[in-house]
Amino acid sequence: MLDDSGDDLFDGFWPFMKRVLLIFLPIWVFLLGMSAGAPTIVSSVLAGSSIAVVVYIEKLKLKQAMAANDDAESLIK
C-alpha cells in the first residue's frame, strides 16, 4: 500500500480534516450561495469548486513541508 505523504500534515490531523472538509465544505458553500440569493446553478458550481481549495491547500502545505525538509538536509552541521 502506498503511503500518503499528506498524512503527516497538521500534526497528523490532516486525513481527518480532509475528509470532513471534502464532505461539509461544499454543503456550506452551497448553503451560503443559496442564502445569499444566488441561482442554484451558481451555488452548485461554487460548491463543487470549493473541493479544489481543499486539494490546493494540501498541495501547498506539502510543498512547504518538502521545502522545510530540504532546508534541514542542506544545513551544514
Binding site: 490531523f13 480534516m17 461539509f24
Partner: protein, 201 residues
C-alpha cells in the same frame, strides 16, 4: 404534520424557511448523534469493565477505535453547533447569509476544539521505551557479585524505577561483592559499566 414541522413547532419556529429547516435538522440530529456517541463511550466502558470482571478477559476500546469515536464526536459536535448558532443568528438578525456564515465558523470552532483535545490526549501518552544511557551517573548497589573481568548484576534506579541490569566493572581487576555501592560510568549495549562508589561520593 411532518416531523420537521413538528420539531419546528417544538422549538418555537412556525413555517420555517428551508435554511431554518436545515439549521433545526442539524441541531436536533447533531444533538441526538452526539448524545448517542457519548452514551456509547460511557456504556462501552461500563460494559467493558463488567465483562473484564465477569469473564477475566481484556475487552476495551483500542486507541484507533477511540480516535474514530472522537472524530465522529467532533463531526456530531460541529453539526450540532452549526444548527444551534445558525438558528440563533437567524432568529436574532433575520439574515440567513450571516447565519450560515456564523454556523460554519461555529462548526469549525468545534472541530478545532476536538483537534486540541486530541492533541492533549496524545500528549498524555508516555513512551515506555527504556533508554539505558540514562543510567549513566546514577548510583546503585551490586545485586549479584561482579568477579574480575566477568559480568554480574546491579540494581540502579533510573527513569523512575529500580532496575536490575547486567553490569561489569570498569577496572577489570576489581571484584565487587554483593551489596557494594556502585556508580554507573558507561553503557555498552544493555550492560552497565560500573565502578565502586568512593567515600566522598
Amino acid at each position: 404534520m411532518s416531523l420537521l414541522s413538528y420539531i419546528g413547532d417544538l422549538v418555537g419556529v412556525s413555517a420555517p424557511s428551508p435554511i431554518e429547516m436545515i439549521f433545526i435538522s442539524c441541531a436536533v440530529l447533531g444533538t441526538v448523534f452526539f448524545l448517542i456517541m457519548m452514551g456509547i463511550m460511557l456504556i462501552g466502558d461500563i460494559i467493558g469493565g463488567v465483562v473484564d470482571t465477569a469473564f477475566d478477559t481484556d475487552f476495551s476500546m483500542d486507541s484507533d477505535l477511540s480516535f474514530e469515536l472522537f472524530s465522529l464526536q467532533g463531526i456530531a459536535a460541529g453539526v450540532m453547533m452549526f444548527g444551534y448558532v445558525g438558528m440563533y443568528v437567524t432568529t436574532s438578525t433575520d439574515q440567513e447569509v450571516l447565519a450560515v456564515l456564523a454556523g460554519g465558523l461555529a462548526a469549525a470552532g468545534s472541530l478545532y476544539g476536538v483537534k486540541m483535545m486530541m492533541k492533549g490526549i496524545t500528549g498524555l501518552q508516555a513512551d515506555g521505551t527504556m533508554v539505558v544511557s540514562n543510567a549513566i551517573g546514577q548510583r546503585g548497589q551490586v545485586y549479584s557479585r561482579i568477579r574480575p573481568g566477568e559480568s554480574g548484576e546491579v540494581q540502579v534506579a533510573f527513569e523512575g524505577s529500580l532496575r536490575t541490569m547486567a553490569a561489569r566493572a570498569k577496572d577489570k581487576s576489581v571484584h565487587l561483592p554483593t551489596g557494594d555501592f556502585i556508580k554507573v560510568v558507561d553503557v555498552i549495549g544493555s550492560t552497565l559499566i560500573v565502578e565502586e562508589l568512593n567515600e566522598e561520593e
